[in-house]
């Protein structure tokens, strides 16, 4: 009997080990190592590494570029999340119905998601390019002057927001489409019998039933707004003058272009904390209200 439990434990550990190794090697160890790195200065033959404690974090609060990229990230999140969720719901409602060319529409909506971000950025680079870009050429037909969309600090972030929405909405649509299809058709029949308007049906039945999906999408969209920076490599490199720079790209620059591992680690720990706190907040506060009863 004891032998039996022993075996069961052993099996349990054996099943757990692969996942544990991966998690420790690629999540927990790097996190801890990053935190430790942030407490020490960089080492080079000229200047050996020394303990600096929270100095790196103080630098962070004194660094105007950090505040700039942080606020850019917030604007990016505010600009992309509500719109792409709204669009995703509308698209999902359209392709959930038996409209002509439904598969074609579904593919059309989903294509941007399948493209790698680098490819997307290369496409949009030629949309936004002044003079030769598609956007300028189309606007030119209506006699509108050429704009330097990516070269002007007041238009560069909105330009990137539009591109991100284009890229993301299709992805979120898939979740809403799945969500819509789990809603029992009886509800639609009942609503029809009761003579409920289409809007009423959406607002009172579909939307509340989609709330768990919305929570999921919301968390994903928020994380993505911090995670997605591939396009910056192609489009702007964070410029002009950091007008389109984002936290993750700034971390990359600090670590690999400036070779300042210590400060990059401090930035990373900050980003990690921010994301962890937000995710927890979303789970604990929003989760309570999303399940329709």
């Amino acid at each position: 009997m004891l032998m039996e439990t022993h075996k069961r434990h052993l099996l349990g550990w054996a099943l757990f080990t692969p996942a544990a190794i991966l998690l420790i090697a690629f999540t927990h160890y790097p996190t801890i190592a990053t935190f430790i790195n942030s407490l020490f200065s960089n080492s080079s033959i000229i200047r050996p590494s020394r303990f600096i404690g929270v100095e790196g974090y103080q630098d962070l609060f004194d660094d105007p570029v950090f505040w700039k990229v942080f606020s850019n990230n917030i604007w990016l999140a505010l600009g992309t999340i509500p719109t792409s969720i709204g669009l995703a719901i509308i698209m999902a409602l359209i392709v959930n119905k038996a409209v002509p060319g439904r598969s074609f529409l579904r593919i059309a909506y989903f294509t941007p998601t399948m493209l790698p971000m680098i490819a997307v950025a290369n496409i949009w680079l030629f949309f936004y390019a002044p003079e030769i870009g598609m956007l300028d050429q189309v606007l030119g037909l209506f006699g509108i002057d050429s704009h330097n969309w990516l070269g002007n600090p007041s238009t560069v972030l909105p330009a990137i927001i539009v591109m991100t929405i284009w890229k993301e909405a299709g992805f979120f649509m898939i979740f809403y489409l799945a969500g819509l299809q789990t809603i029992s058709p009886e509800l639609a029949e009942a609503a029809e019998l009761e003579g409920s308007s289409r809007w009423n049906f959406f607002w009172r039945v579909q939307y509340p039933l989609l709330l768990p999906t919305t929570l999921f999408v919301l968390i994903n969209a928020f994380l993505n707004s911090f995670k997605l920076v591939d396009h910056l490599f192609v489009l702007t490199k964070g410029g002009p003058d950091n007008a389109s720079n984002l936290i993750l790209y700034y971390i990359y620059e600090t670590a690999f272009s400036f070779l300042d591992i210590s400060y990059a680690s401090a930035l990373t720990v900050f980003l990690l904390l921010l994301l962890a706190v937000t995710a927890l907040a979303q789970f604990y506060f929003v989760d309570k209200r999303v399940h329709y009863r």
Partner: protein, 426 residues
């Protein structure tokens, strides 16, 4: 199920073992080299071709040449490989990475690798201005490979249409502005000129500053001169081209799409790396010319591009093999071919003496402009902590071009930051 798993893992183990043993048996020395490409055109093919020629000539050396993106990416990948214990014995990296690579103790000076008198003479066979970014503390750390200067490409057809002489491109700042005004059309379909201000703005600015009689840094890379009046003036001139003279679009101009702008006739003049020359030549549907950058108080351009480095983490044999490869790639004949195929310059006087390049220059004179300009060239901005200092200057330039700061303010801020970072190195 378990049986299949066991079979599979046996299979994997066997094939890994085979791969390992065969790699050892194949070649005596195996080299891994990373290299960047920063301009247009099918340059990876050219490099790969040169490398396979080398292996055909030297069957005992196997070279893995890995294309690693732009200059930044190449440095990151090579350093990451070294850090993680993957082999990399040599790489082509940004010529201005020198101080950082030295500080990381990642590279060896060529003076320690060359042995024979012939090899020592080879070290002195390159254009001296191309060696400026490759030498430090009296030693040679980088051997020029894909080297460039900034040149002025101009559309001769547009010059004719605007009533300008297509054979005398603007040679001074004043002439540049005058020509620009004539070339800029009222309906906005064609701009007079474009100087790119993303990607490598500090590089273009190095040219303007030098034309105004200033350099951006001292020779040992521990002091910058961003806030000198002459430097501020140079940035004002750049800004004025857009905001005052209206011969260039305002805001920043994208490095990556500028060639396309030029090829589509949206700008009559562009300043760009000579490394783009062959790509422009192959794609231009109009008659174009290439000229030295115009003079302010004098002519001037920074050199640019990539050098060969040998990494410290390498054995004696690997260093010798790397030297062999580098000598092969920088040999006059091959350097001439490289220049023809890309537009990058021949790196030694001897390469311009080869039949290949002599004939090419005769039939296509623009190919010699970058070389002729070397006489007026200075080193590219290369300091300690170069990434951060470059970035602070880039940000300052862009802030001025988009109108959010004055030149004085922006450059003073950049200088203050550079002073703070560099004071430890003085």
């Amino acid at each position: 199920m378990q049986k299949t798993l066991r079979k599979m893992s046996l299979g994997i183990a066997a094939s890994v073992g085979m791969a390992l043993s065969s790699a050892v048996a194949w070649a005596e020395t195996e080299l891994t080299m990373y290299y960047p490409v920063a301009v247009g055109g099918p340059l990876t093919k050219v490099v790969d071709g040169m490398v396979s020629d080398f292996m055909a000539e030297n069957p005992d050396i196997k070279v893995n040449a890995i294309y690693a993106g732009n200059y930044n990416d190449a440095r990151i990948k090579a350093l990451a490989a070294l850090e993680s214990g993957e082999p990399a014995q040599l790489s082509v990296m940004f010529s201005i990475d020198l101080n950082e690579l030295r500080e990381l103790d990642a590279i060896v000076p060529f003076d320690e690798v060359v042995k024979t008198d012939e090899e020592k003479a080879w070290l002195n066979s390159f254009y001296p201005s191309l060696m400026e970014n490759g030498t430090s503390v009296g030693k040679t750390w980088g051997i020029p490979f894909q080297r460039s200067t900034i040149v002025m490409y101009y559309n001769k057809d547009a010059f004719k249409a605007a009533g300008l002489d297509p054979d005398s491109p603007p040679a001074t700042w004043d002439e540049l502005v005058d020509a620009g005004k004539k070339l800029t059309t009222d309906d906005g379909s064609q701009w007079g000129m474009m100087i790119p201000s993303t990607g490598y703005p500090y590089w273009m600015f190095g040219a303007l500053a030098m034309q105004n009689g200033e350099v951006l840094m001292n020779g040992s890379g521990d002091t910058t001169y961003f806030d000198k009046p002459g430097v501020v003036e140079a940035l004002n001139f750049w800004k004025d081209l857009g905001s005052k003279h209206k011969v260039m679009p305002e805001g920043t101009i994208e490095w990556g799409t500028l060639r396309q702008n030029f090829l589509e006739g949206k700008t009559a003049i562009m300043w760009h790396s000579t490394g783009n020359l062959t790509a422009v030549k192959n794609a231009a549907k109009f008659d174009f010319g290439v000229a030295m950058l115009p003079a302010g108080k004098r002519r001037g351009t920074p050199t640019g591009g990539g050098n060969f480095y040998i990494f410290k983490k390498s054995s004696e044999e690997e260093r010798a093999a790397s030297l062999k490869l580098i000598r092969f790639m920088t040999d006059p004949e091959r350097s001439a071919n490289w220049s023809v195929q890309t537009g990058y310059m021949g790196i030694s006087p001897a390469s311009y003496e080869t039949e290949t390049l002599k004939n090419y220059v005769k039939e296509f004179p623009p190919a010699a402009v970058a070389r002729d300009q070397l006489e007026f060239a200075t080193a590219e901005l290369a300091t300690f902590q170069a990434g951060r200092i470059r970035k602070s200057l880039d940000d300052a330039i862009q802030a001025v071009l988009v109108g959010s700061k004055s030149s004085e303010e922006a450059l003073e801020e950049a200088q203050a930051l550079a002073d703070r970072i560099l004071k430890d190195y003085r």
